[in-house]
Amino acid sequence: MNLVYINSANGLSKAALETVTYAKKLGADVAVVTNANASAETLTALGNYGASTILQDTAINGQDPSQLVKLVAAAAEKVGASTIVFSHDLIGKAVAPRLSVRLKAGLVAGAVALPEPDGSIRVNVFSGKAFGYVRVNSNTRIISLLPNSIQPEQIGGNCSVEAFDGQAGSSNIVVKATKKPEGAIPLPEAELVVSAGRGLKGPENWGVVEDLATALGAATACSRPVADIGWRPHHEHVGQTGVAIRPNLYIAAGISGAIQHLAGVNGSKVIVVINTDAEAPFFKAADYGIVGDAFEVLPRFTEAVKRFKATQH
């Protein structure tokens, strides 16, 4: 049996669907364990992606990784899991390593593909400049799947939801406040990203970036100096020392394409670069390039997207 942990506090995220699809493709039946009180109706939709059983513990809110690790360990024991899958998101990064120690089970952190024929699993190393193939030496293995590495697949199927007591004890972490920007798309999960750098000259000029992002339904990102000077929030900083992302489309305006920046975005499927300097290194990593002024090109881009969207309805 393969076991998947998902966070269902805000319904089923794309990351949740990806992990269930991944676990199903590994072969064997898939059980899902979740905390929070998503409705049975919401959770049973996972049957469509290959889950056969869902264990739900509504007693814990999911804020303390030491509770979640107990929950997942208890579920793993109940279903006799040989593989446990997380999303390599902020919860997976906090919980999967704890579980690895608790179960003495090897962790493949940030898997980007299904196992190779020899059983090793590909991960990004050296900040996306290379791939490593990780072999697990223990009987039980834990895999955390980098978001946007595989597409969720509906295969049709049903599953049951069962109340489960993970005996997770009490939380040691007190939550004082939670801030989630309204309507913003979380960057690591975004399929489309519009990013800008120092070429935009000042925070007051980000309107053209946001307009394009809104027209596309994209998340926004930035280069390191832009976050360092405080033009944009830190969580938008992508690169080797920021967030690593791998969207389907990465649009970079006014970013030179330094090696440290590329390290965080080189997993993107398609890269569009807009830069006044035809010699900017980013063009070497781009699929499509526009040599031009971001202040002129971005608004035109936005209009072109709007025209395109109008024809799609």
Partner: protein, 246 residues
């Protein structure tokens, strides 16, 4: 407050990444090692700020061979008080974390800090593993860190936002951007670092849980297709029909 900061070496960000021995080993030829930026810029500097404000001691620890002493001296030059090197090759995150846990157990550290990840293996694993091995609370990917008495308060990243949380010491925190600013060591720091205590400790016997069986490099990009800046409709059409991303 006694703070333990876990330090890893990492290849300089401009290093050429290549592999030897039939793609089974990282080619260290010509590679310069630095202190992993997350460990240095955020975990170590924040630990020093807390010590400067409240007193206490900052110990750095790494799992590595004698060649890593240079990286340790750099961290001492920035201001750590003393250093520990567990004399073993850091074969995987589990091995590394369990070695550090074996050392830290019972030493009375109030706070154990790691960087959010290393820029070579990018696993984000050591902090969580340490917390489990020492049975401590874990705050992953914190962007702010403050201490008042025995209360540790952090801002941490959550999916789609941030959260302010509190926990009682001792605890493990992994550190990310926002927490502190990079410090450049000065001459006095560099001189002082030479004589600060560096204790070399033998590793405990244990096996890694994972192995890197091989490595590969991504395929080179084909050359860029240039689009007329006055014809964005063409770009949108290509993104839809050719690239199929919108």
């Amino acid at each position: 407050m006694n703070i333990l900061v876990c330090i890893s070496k990492a290849p300089d960000t401009t290093s050429k990444i290549a592999f030897t021995n039939g793609n089974t080993q990282f080619d260290e030829n010509g590679v310069q090692y630095i202190v992993n930026p997350y460990d240095e810029w955020y975990a170590l500097v924040r630990a020093l700020e807390l010590k400067e404000a409240q007193g206490g001691n900052v110990t750095i620890i790494t799992v590595g061979g004698a060649a890593d002493d240079a990286v340790i001296r750099k961290a001492l030059a920035i201001g750590a008080d003393d250093a520990v090197r567990i004399d073993a090759s850091a074969t995987d995150a589990y091995f590394t974390a369990m070695q550090i846990a074996a050392y830290a157990e019972g030493k009375g550290f109030d706070l154990i800090l790691t960087g959010k990840e290393t820029i070579d293996y990018n696993g984000s694993q050591v902090g969580g593993m340490l917390a489990e091995a020492l049975n401590l609370p874990y705050i992953a990917i914190a962007t702010k860190l403050d201490v008042a008495g025995s209360t540790i308060s952090c801002e941490r990243e959550i999916v789609g936002g941030v959260q302010e949380v509190e926990v009682q010491a001792p605890a493990v925190v992994s550190c990310a951007k926002g927490m502190a600013e990079q410090r450049i060591p000065n001459m006095r720091g560099i001189m002082a670092a030479r004589t600060k205590p560096l204790t070399v400790v033998a590793p405990v016997a244990l096996d890694a849980l994972t192995t890197y069986s091989s490595y590969s490099l991504p395929a080179a990009k084909s050359s860029v297709k240039l689009i007329d800046p006055n014809n964005l409709d063409e770009l949108v059409a290509l993104l839809h029909n050719e690239a199929k991303v919108i």
